[in-house]
Each structure stands twice: as structure tokens, then as C-alpha cells.
């Protein structure tokens, strides 16, 4: 069964998570040590800034305890920090995996990074050779579910930070941001962060003005933009598309009459002000100028809050998708209980049919014998299709069903029949070996 042990932003502060985290270069060694733990046959480690989790195929509860001890001992956690570590197994572990991959357990629900991080962890475990049937079945199902959650719900659609909300708003006004000109007024840290966000969104030109020109030059160099003297502010207002304000001024730098004058020079072209300064740099009256859009910190916070609330609503829909997937997965797992009987039954039928082909085939040529063999296999497949489907369905719906044992008794099936026949997980026979 699947077992998970770990810490996350929900159970542990950053100091604990830092202590437990696995560095990239130590991951392969940790994985190899993990699969050496008694009762742990396979393992994967997800280590991000918000969570450190060991995923493993474990034999029983005792193995899960060993997994917990491994994490505590390996990372040398003092007893006072052990309360931060959680453990899940079976159905709960599967639900946790699905929720993590679908970004429902993330600090910002719906953020896109976590899926890539779990994929990286899976690839690392694959490289280290520590994956087994439990993880190889469950984790890809979690990836597929996460993809469906992203495409079928709006959980990841809205921006969840002030900087990303500002970018979304700019896109709502201008469409494509490529080639747009941004003016950064002030050289504060917050302005720099937001400007970087706009830059990564693909804006074209970036100018910086600041009362202390040297700081404008410094910031422009960092951002790959151009510094301009403070007295060019009015000229630039007539040219740019987006103005990002973050000065330390105690009075508004831009008032309505100044912006209205700039708008006349712009012939009404849209102008978007992002004012993240406190106290504000842009007089609120500026927002009433035609084709001017003004968002201060409070307005941006309101947009983010609306988006977060919407994400929570969408998360409920995504949780329902997780529940449905869990039911499907459990049915699939249970149906695998009938697989040994299915393998035996198919092997018995093929054995009889191919023996007859061999007997009669001795009197005909190779071509005819190959055709007879194909026909015999097709007849076996058609005859067995309905009973095998019913066996799988019965096992999925009734884990304690006696039908598989009845079938074994009826056809006198025992494991000797499959020893010579390699059959894959879904019961498809390797026909070449079966022909032997």
C-alpha cells in the first residue's frame, strides 16, 4: 500500500521545513537508503520550500513507522519537532497524493509549480531505480488528475498576488503586453519586484525615473531598462502605457490636472497606473480621467482577495474530482484481485487450443498452421471476453467475492498453468511463449 510521511506548510514553520529538506545532490542517496528500510519496497521524495514528503510502497503499518523513524533519524529532528511530522497510509495517503499534485494542498491553492515539482521527484526516483508497482500506478494517476483539475476547473485561472493581479489587469486593458512601454516612478524595492513581474510578462520598453537620478540608473541597470531625469516625467507620461509608482513621497506625485494634460497629448490612448506606494503617489481623482485606470494597493488587494475566494470555490469542485478519482482507483485496484484467476483461466484455454493446433498442424504446412494458431487464439479471446469482464467487475465491486475461487475450482486451475506463460498486468498473454 501507499504510505506518506512528511512535513508541510500546514504543519511546520519554515525553520522545520528547512531542516528536513533534501538537497538535490543528496536525493539519490537518500532514496537508496529509504528502499533499504525494512518493509519499504519503493520510494519517492518530494522536497520543496513548502513541503518535504517521503512517498513509499509499504508492507504494513510497522513499515510506515519505520519510514517515520527514517525521516526523524536521517534529518536528526529533536523530539520537540516530531509533532510537526504527519503520516498517511492506504486510502488517506492516496487522497493526499492526489490533492498535492492537483495543488489543492498548496499554500496558494491552484499554483502551478507543485505539479512540476512532483514530476521532478518522480523522475528522480525513476533514475535512482526506487520506483515500484504502487508508486508507478498511483503517481501517474495523480498527474492525470492534476491535469484534468487544471483544465476543467478555474482553480488555477486567477492571479493570487498583487504583482500578478497587476499584470492581469494590464492584459485586460491592452491585450498583449509585448511591446508595451512601462514607466517605473521611484526606485523602491516593491517597485523593483513588480517591475520584474511585468518584465517577465513580456513588456517591451522600461524607463525609470527617480528624484535621485543615480538610484534610477542603478534600478534601470538591474531591470535592463533606461533611466530618465525626474523632469522628463511629464514627457514620458505622454508616451508610456503603464506607470508603476513606488516612491517614498508623502504627498501625491501625480495629480488629476497633470494626468489630464498628458492624456490630451496621448490622444486618449489608455493609461494604466499601478500605485503600490504607501502613502499613495497618485491622487485617487486621477482614476476619474477618461481612459485612465488607477489601481492602488487596496484596489489590487481587493482583486487578489476576490480571486482567492474564487479559487476556494473552484477548489470544492476539484475536491469532488479527487473523490471521484479515488473511487475509480479503488475499483481498479480491487479488480486486480481477479488478475491471477484471469491469467490462469486464459492460460488453460490457450493451452488446450494450441495443443489442438499442434496436433492437427503437424499434417499441414507452416502457413496454414500459423493461420490455425491465430484462429485458435481469436476464438479463445472471444469466448473468454464476457467471463473475464464479469470476473473483473465482480472483484471491483465485491473485494471478498468467492467467484474467483469458484472459477478456479470449476476449471481445476492452479499456478502450474502459468509458469510457462508470461502474462502482463492486464492479462494479455505473450503469444510466442504461449505457443510453446
Amino acid at each position: 500500500m501507499l504510505g506518506i510521511v512528511g512535513v508541510s506548510h500546514k504543519t511546520a514553520p519554515i525553520e522545520v521545513r528547512e531542516r528536513v529538506a533534501f538537497a538535490g545532490d543528496s536525493l539519490a542517496e537518500a532514496l537508496r537508503q529509504l528502499v533499504a528500510v525494512p518493509g519499504v519496497g519503493e520510494a519517492m521524495i518530494v522536497s520543496t520550500c513548502n513541503r518535504v514528503e517521503l512517498y513509499a510502497g509499504v508492507d504494513d503499518k510497522a513499515a510506515l513507522d519505520s519510514l517515520m523513524r527514517f525521516l526523524i533519524d536521517e534529518r536528526q529532528l529533536p523530539s520537540s519537532l516530531r509533532a510537526h511530522v504527519y503520516a498517511h497510509d492506504g486510502h488517506d495517503a492516496l487522497r493526499h497524493l492526489f490533492r498535492v499534485a492537483a495543488s489543492l494542498d498548496s499554500m496558494v491553492v491552484g499554483e502551478s509549480q507543485i505539479l512540476g515539482q512532483v514530476k521532478d521527484a518522480y523522475a528522480a526516483a525513476l533514475d535512482a531505480g526506487t520506483l515500484g508497482p504502487v508508486l508507478q500506478r498511483a503517481v501517474p494517476r495523480a498527474f492525470a488528475l492534476a491535469k484534468r483539475v487544471r483544465t476543467e476547473t478555474d482553480v488555477a485561472r486567477s492571479s493570487a498576488s498583487i504583482a500578478s493581479a497587476a499584470v492581469d489587469l494590464a492584459a485586460q486593458i491592452f491585450g498583449q503586453l509585448e511591446g508595451r512601454h512601462v514607466l517605473v516612478v521611484g526606485a523602491g524595492k516593491m517597485g523593483e519586484l513588480s517591475a520584474r513581474h511585468l518584465k517577465s510578462a513580456g513588456i517591451g520598453e522600461l524607463s525609470v525615473v527617480n528624484r535621485t537620478h543615480a538610484r534610477a540608473v542603478e534600478l534601470a541597470d538591474k531591470l535592463g531598462g533606461r533611466a530618465a531625469p525626474w523632469d522628463e516625467l511629464d514627457r514620458l507620461l505622454g508616451k508610456v502605457d503603464i506607470v508603476l509608482c513606488s516612491t517614498g513621497a508623502t504627498e501625491p506625485v501625480l495629480r488629476k490636472d497633470r494626468v489630464a494634460k498628458a492624456m490630451r497629448a496621448r490622444k486618449g490612448r489608455w493609461l494604466f497606473f499601478i500605485d503600490i506606494a504607501v502613502p499613495r503617489d497618485v491622487d485617487p481623482e486621477v482614476g476619474s480621467v477618461e481612459n485612465v485606470y488607477l489601481y492602488d494597493v487596496d484596489a489590487l488587494e481587493r482583486v487578489v482577495a476576490q480571486n482567492r475566494a474564487q479559487r476556494q470555490n473552484e477548489a470544492a469542485e476539484a475536491e469532488a474530482m479527487v473523490d471521484a478519482e479515488l473511487v475509480r482507483y479503488r475499483e481498479h485496484e480491487q479488480s486486480l484481485g481477479a488478475v491471477p484467476t484471469i491469467k490462469l483461466l486464459r492460460a488453460r484455454f490457450l493451452e488446450v487450443a494450441l495443443a489442438e493446433v499442434e496436433r492437427i498442424g503437424a499434417r499441414v504446412g507452416d502457413k496454414e498452421r500459423a493461420a490455425m494458431q491465430q484462429m485458435a487464439e481469436a476464438i479463445v479471446n472471444k469466448l473468454l471476453h464476457t467471463p473475464l469482464t464479469k470476473l473483473k467487475k465482480d472483484a471491483a465491486e465485491h473485494p471478498d467475492s468467492e467467484l474467483p475461487s469458484l472459477v478456479r475450482a470449476l476449471f481445476d486451475l492452479h499456478t502450474g498453468h502459468t509458469e510457462e506463460i508470461r502474462v502482463d498486468l492486464d492479462g494479455e498473454p505473450d503469444q510466442k511463449k504461449a505457443a510453446k
Binding site: F174, G175, G268, E290, N291, Q306
Partner: protein, 263 residues
Amino acid sequence: MPPLFPATMALYGVSCALYLAHLMAGSVGLARAARGALAAAFASQALDIAWLCTRGLHPAVNAREALSFAAWLICGAYLLASVKNRVPVVGALVVPVTMVLDVAARLSPSREASHGVSTLGAVHITLATAGVALFAVAAGGAVIYLIEERALKAHRAGVLFKKGPALETLDTLNRRCITIGFPLFTAAMVLGAVWGVQLHDKLFTPQYSIAVAAWIMYAVLLVARVTAGWRGRRAAIMTLGGFATSLTVLLIYFVRGFGGAAL
């Protein structure tokens, strides 16, 4: 009833449902499928119009057919406009309007003689309807612009905030539709004047005067766009004013019937 009318309506219905589903789910694939269904509906109605022409009838031979013809042209104008501007929200507005116009056309009685329009009249009606169809798409975009603009000014993130096109895209749609529609409408006005004098020996009938008012509004908008930077909200309001005025002319015709009357 034109032979393909049920198929055309079914395709419009599919397109409408897909556009609404796009608005709910935000899927680009749904918007693409909706546009495909709309193109199929447009082609189907085009065959019906061709069928009408093979019987020697102008597609806008009477008020009923003119309504249906206008619906077809609105649909065509939207498809044309959406080649460069992907604005499925406008599609979600235009397709139901097209369906209502088509159904209204089928339900209204046909009163006019089918051969009562001269060639001059036929060209005039075609150009006028095409111009108004483009103005209709511009007006649809203007409505969405005003809703979105209001939400942005008030710092509210409504449905259109996330799924609607950008303000600049809507304004570009508006400019393109009016830039193409205005010459068509102007030509229709000139031909209408000639046709009116031929028929009634006078130029300024009430509907012609209203049409002149609509023409002036669009002319002012086009000039002011270039010279005074009228765009965005102001252009959207002017577009709606112009469209309401030109729609009044069409409504007068629809209520009174063409009856051989020109603009």
C-alpha cells in the same frame, strides 16, 4: 420557407450553446468550435439566399427577407471581424441576436410583391443592410466595452473581467467595423437618394432624414478618432448612438414595409 432553414437554425443553436459554454468554462477549444459552427450556419444560410436568387428574388426583396438577410450579414460581419480579433464574447452576443432576427423573419408575414424592387433599389438595400450589419457588430463590441470598462474603473472583477477581450481589442474591433461599414452605408445613402427621387420626386423622407443623422454620427466618430483621439468609452457611446439611429430607419421599413420606398 427556404429549404435549409431548419439546418441553419440548428447550426446557429449549436454555435450559440458552444459560445455560452465557452463563457462558462473559458475553454479556447469551445470558442473555436463555436466559430466553426457559426461559419457552417453562415454557409448554410448563404445557400438559402442563393436559392432565393435563383428564383429571381433579391435577398432583401421585402421586410421579412431583409430581416433574415440582415441577420446573415451580421453573422458574416462578425466572422470577418473575428479573423483578426478573437472576441468570442462578442460572438456570444451576436449569435443569439442573429437567431432571434432569423426566427422573427420567418414568423413575420410576407407582404410585398416579390418583383417590386428595381436594380438600383436592390443595390441600395444590400449596401445599407451590409453597413448596418457591421455597425451591429461594432455596437455589440461597444456594449461589452462599456460593461468591462465600468468593472475595471470600479475595481470589480466580474465574469467579463476574466473571459472578455481586452479593452484595446474591443476598441480595435469597433474601429475596423465602422471603417468598413461607413463607406458601404455612404454608398447606400447616395443610391437611396437617387432611388427616392425616382420614386417620390423628393429626397427628404422621414427615414432618410434619420439615416442622415446616423451617417453624421458615424462620420463625426471617424473624424474625431483621428483628430481628437476619440476612443474607448466615448467611441463606444457614439457607436451605440449611431447604431440606435440606423436601427430606427430599419424598424420604420420593417413596420411600414418597403412598399417601393427608398431611403
